[in-house]
């Protein structure tokens, strides 16, 4: 299973952090401290897999963000790369050519998208079309709800 997903900027700021295994705040901080130097500045010619404690880290850089997935040692690393890519493509479609700024200002939307495709540490939806459709649906409901409250206020 996936234990945690991190999106880290080039300067070490966390843009997205989703934890599927239980870690206290202190443990999370110490993990972050260990993971950041391993991942930032890693030569792109090297392979994307790192051994980290009893897990495997799958790290790939997309533009100015490092995507880090932490999976079990016995999991299939290559498919984890595909899951990562899937996530990036969905983000790209939603934000129309996504860049780091989109993620910074719309992190809550990024979390919603992530929730649509990965839950409980596993991938739950494999169709990009489905994910996008659901997200658009949800956005629409939010819009309607907002209009409703503004109408009620008046």
């Amino acid at each position: 299973m996936i234990h945690f997903i991190l999106l880290i900027s080039r300067h070490g700021k966390i843009r997205l952090g989703k934890w599927f295994s239980t870690y206290s705040q202190k443990e999370r901080e110490s993990i972050l401290k260990e993971v950041k130097p391993l991942v930032i500045g890693r030569n792109s010619k090297l392979c994307n897999f790192l051994e980290f404690k009893e897990f495997t880290l799958v790290a790939k850089r997309y533009a100015s963000l490092y995507f880090v997935f932490c999976i079990d040692r016995e999991d299939n690393e290559l498919i984890a790369l595909d899951i990562m890519h899937f996530f990036v493509e969905v983000l790209d479609k939603y934000f129309k050519n996504v860049c780091e700024l989109d993620i910074i200002f719309n992190f809550h939307k990024a979390y919603y998208i992530l929730d649509e495709m990965i839950a409980g540490g596993y991938m739950i939806e494999t169709s990009k079309k489905q994910v996008n459709k659901t997200i658009e649906n949800q956005d629409q409901i939010m819009e309607e709800a907002r209009e409703e409250t503004t109408a009620r206020k008046k």
Binding site: I14, I79, D82, H108, I124, A145
Partner: protein
């Protein structure tokens, strides 16, 4: 018109902009602190309308690393709201701001339950996702019935989430597996293959927690294979195709499941299916390779036909040659697993693997190193070690250590000749002596000492290497020891070898060489060895006594206590009143017991050779070890063991270790014995004016065969009553079956008295052990040694066994 702050709190966007505009960390902290205060203030208002905005801001603040515990309860309030937006933010806040260990989490169980029974699919979905991500064990237990029900919901969106929520429930509460077991078959046959994938993951999770449940699911392997086949044959559905492969995620999950529920013999359709996937999947893109990789892993896990295995190895071979680093890493990983099962198949790729040692990526290098090590055997060891040594020259420090350890192990386990062994170790020492583990130095010393032909050659080579390389600690220690032991060869002989002449040295040159290792910045341990070597040289090369004395005297005022002590004692020893004893005292070490090479270097108690020469490691008593008249058992054919001895220096004669149980493989205590024993044994002892140091603690293996191992750990608990010995007997079960009814009886000579305390149990599991205590009183302590005759009885598989053995490897004055 600007609304007052109380009516319109800062929007999330504005907060983010404000934080990004901060130039210093202090500024940022101030902005965040102010915002946190406002948010905390706003929470006190019960009718606050922008709660969700506050929680969203809290999320941002938490991501930056600031504490946000005060917002946890607010999430609960939001979740309880009926407004969609608020609920959504509430659930997001829940999963982000809280974790399983927070108590606040329990309070949300009720809201979650209500939401799971709502009519709105979105809301059910939210609740299920939250459960899957963060639920505690109690929450799982309370909500498991609802989740189970939802697994049969008519909307696939709900079904898939309920299934994965089930996976978490099962992980947290393994006793609930039965509830979910029943639902699994339905899910596996679901018409939406996304639900099938989640079902597969649920099943995999169940199997991980309770492996014996596999049997129940073997019947579904047909179903899984069919699902897989459908996938492969589907006319491409663009929705699910990635990199030319239809739904690679589902394929990977299905193949993984196949490996778990294959049963003892994989069915023919499974074998066919795997073969089909392996041959037909497009390896052009990563998705295809991921599927192929999973296929290979499954083939290796199940007991597949040789055809399948060949297919798998070929795929891995292709991966190895690929330029993509990820593929090579993954291939090396799987080959590492394969090599334990099928060595020959991997041998074919030997050259590629060795090339990977040069790779730029250190992870690949490390894997290649491990794999190379597994591939070494007698025939290719010379070539591979040569290549590994070449890499050692260019390797960087973190890699060097791993490389050196593996190299030394390989050399030790597979060396064809002792000379080659020594040469290779010497090369490694010169290149990376500081990384070489102690055990290697010790075992090389053993090789030199046990192979007389090699001694002269070794000491010459070591001396020459030492002169150039005084920083490599391993090399220095070994060289100093050899110079001490065999320094006479350095002076007397000039050797002709294949790469030129190894000249004899003058005593001065030798002393200078040793002096180089005693510089003030040298490690203390090197100086310790140097001192010992010097004192030994005083006997081997008497011409150099003056310079030796000078060098030792320098260390009398050393800061290290050990150095001081050694220096003072040695200077005393150089005094003329000890002339007669110095020779025999400092003669060559007898061949000692060598620790067998193990993969994980462990410190073994049997490497005392590199310590002071005064402590003999072999008992050299003069008395009858076993006075036959006083024994109560019958004698049997005696085992002889002979070891080559160097003839230059007279060696002490040792007793034979009487072994009356001839079929026991003896532990590797060499017995340098020349005399067959007929009855009474009495050989004159040449060292009677030797003051022997009686070791107080003595641990050794008393008896060992393929099934059991008996260890004796002896101590002297009363320092003023040395005739009493406390022996802790530990019997371990080495075989893979249970041992029951274990009984140990012992008999001793008349001058000994002993008592046994019974063991806690008489049965041992495989790998288990029994301990018992024995008290021994030696009334003739100092004159007669301790010897025990043991009778061991036990039963394996209702077959009783009985073994006899004599334990007499106690030091003589114990």
């Amino acid at each position: 018109m600007q609304a007052p702050k109380k009516e319109q709190p800062t929007r999330l966007r504005d907060l983010i902009k404000a934080v990004r505009a901060c130039k210093t960390a202090a500024e940022e902290r101030a902005v965040v602190a102010q915002e946190s205060a406002e948010i905390r203030e706003s929470f006190r208002d019960e009718t606050y309308r922008f709660r969700h905005r506050s929680v969203a801001k809290l999320l941002f603040i938490q991501m930056m690393g600031y504490p946000t515990n005060f917002g946890q309860v607010e999430c609960l309030k939001l979740i309880a709201s009926s407004n969609y937006t608020e609920k959504r933010v509430g659930y997001l806040g829940l999963t982000q701001l809280l974790n399983e260990k927070d108590d606040v989490l329990m309070m949300v169980t009720n809201s979650m339950q209500i939401d799971m029974n709502s009519s709105n699919t979105q809301i059910i979905g939210m609740a299920l996702t939250a459960l899957a991500n963060i639920a505690t064990a109690e929450m799982c237990r309370d909500l498991s019935k609802d989740v189970c029900k939802l697994m049969s919901h008519n909307n696939s969106y709900i079904r898939k989430r309920a299934t994965i929520a089930g996976a978490r429930i099962v992980r947290k509460c393994p006793d609930l597996i039965e509830d979910f077991q029943g639902e699994v078959p339905k899910v596996l046959e679901d018409r939406s293959h996304v639900v099938v994938m989640n079902g597969v993951n649920l099943l995999l999770e169940i199997i991980k927690i309770q492996p014996n449940i596999k049997q129940a699911f073997v019947q579904y392997s047909g179903l899984v294979v069919r699902a897989m086949r459908n996938l492969i044959h589907t006319v491409h559905s663009p929705e699910h195709t990635i990199g030319g492969v239809t739904d690679p995620f589902l394929q990977v999950s299905l193949i993984k499941l196949m490996s778990k529920i294959a049963g003892a013999e994989p069915s023919e359709e499974m074998t066919d299916c795997l073969a089909q996937v392996a041959t037909n999947t497009e390896p052009a893109k990563n998705a295809g390779n991921a599927v192929l990789y999973e296929c290979v892993r499954t083939i290796m896990d199940i007991s597949s036909t040789s055809g399948l295995r060949v297919l798998a190895t070929n795929i891995m071979g292709r991966f190895l040659l690929n330029r993509d680093n990820n593929l090579r890493y993954v291939a090396l990983n799987s080959l590492l697993k394969l090599v334990k099962v099928d060595l020959l198949a991997v041998q074919r790729h030997k050259t590629t693997i060795i090339d990977c040692l040069k790779d730029a990526d250190i992870a690949i290098r490390k894997k290649a190193l491990e794999l190379t090590y597994c591939l070494i055997n007698e025939s290719n060891v010379k070539q591979i070690v040569k290549e590994m040594i070449d890499f050692l020259i260019a390797a960087e420090p973190e890699f060097k250590e791993a490389l050196v350890t593996k190299l030394c192990l390989a050399i030790e386990l597979h060396s064809p000749t002792k000379q080659w062994h020594f040469d290779s170790v010497l090369r490694v020492l010169t290149l990376a002596g500081s990384y070489v583990p102690e055990e290697v130095v010790a075992s090389t010393a053993h090789i030199i000492s046990s192979t007389p032909e090699l001694q002269s050659y070794a000491v010459h080579k070591l001396f020459n290497a030492l002169v150039d390389n005084t920083e490599q600690q391993g090399l220095v220690l070994l060289a100093l020891w050899s110079i001490g032991e065999f320094g006479n060869f350095l002076v007397s002989e000039t050797l002709k070898t294949s790469d030129g002449e190894l000249k004899a040295m003058t005593p001065n040159e030798i002393i200078q060489g040793v002096e180089k290792t005693m510089t003030p910045i040298a490690a203390d341990i090197c100086k310790e060895y140097a001192l010992t070597a010097l004192i030994k040289l005083s006997v081997r090369i008497p011409q150099a006594v003056q310079s030796i004395r000078r060098l030792i005297e320098q260390q009398i005022s050393a800061l290290n206590v050990e150095l001081q002590q050694r220096a003072c004692e040695y200077i005393q020893l150089l005094g003329s009143n000890w002339d007669s004893i110095r020779g025999p005292l400092l003669e060559k070490m007898p061949i000692y017991a060598k620790a067998p090479a193990v993969d994980i270097p462990t410190t073994d108690s049997s490497s005392p050779v590199l310590e002071k020469p005064k402590t003999p490691t072999q008992p050299n008593s003069a008395q009858n070890l076993l006075d036959i008249e006083t024994l109560i058992f019958d004698s049997q054919p005696i085992q002889q063991s002979q070891i080559q001895q160097s003839t230059e220096v007279p060696q002490p004669q040792f007793e034979s270790l009487l072994d009356l149980f001839s079929s026991t493989p003896q532990p590797s205590f060499p017995a340098p014995v020349l005399n067959p024993v007929t009855g009474d044994i009495s050989e004159p002892d040449k060292f009677e004016d030797f003051v022997e140091i009686t070791p107080i603690k003595h641990n050794f293996i008393a008896f060992e065969d393929e099934e059991i191992n008996v260890d004796f750990n002896c101590t002297k608990p009363e320092p003023d009553a040395l005739e009493n010995t406390q022996i802790s007997v530990i019997v371990s079960n080495k075989c893979s079956k249970d041992i029951v009814g274990f009984k140990l009886s012992a008999a001793v000579l008349k001058h000994l008295e002993f008592s046994f305390s019974s063991a806690a149990s008489t049965s041992m599991m495989p790998g288990g052990s029994i301990q018992m205590q024995m008290k021994m009183k030696n009334k003739a302590q100092g004159q007669k040694p301790i010897a025990i005759r043991m009778k061991i009885d036990y039963t394996i598989d209702s077959v009783p066994r009985s073994k006899l053995s004599t334990v007499d490897s106690f030091p003589p004055n114990y």
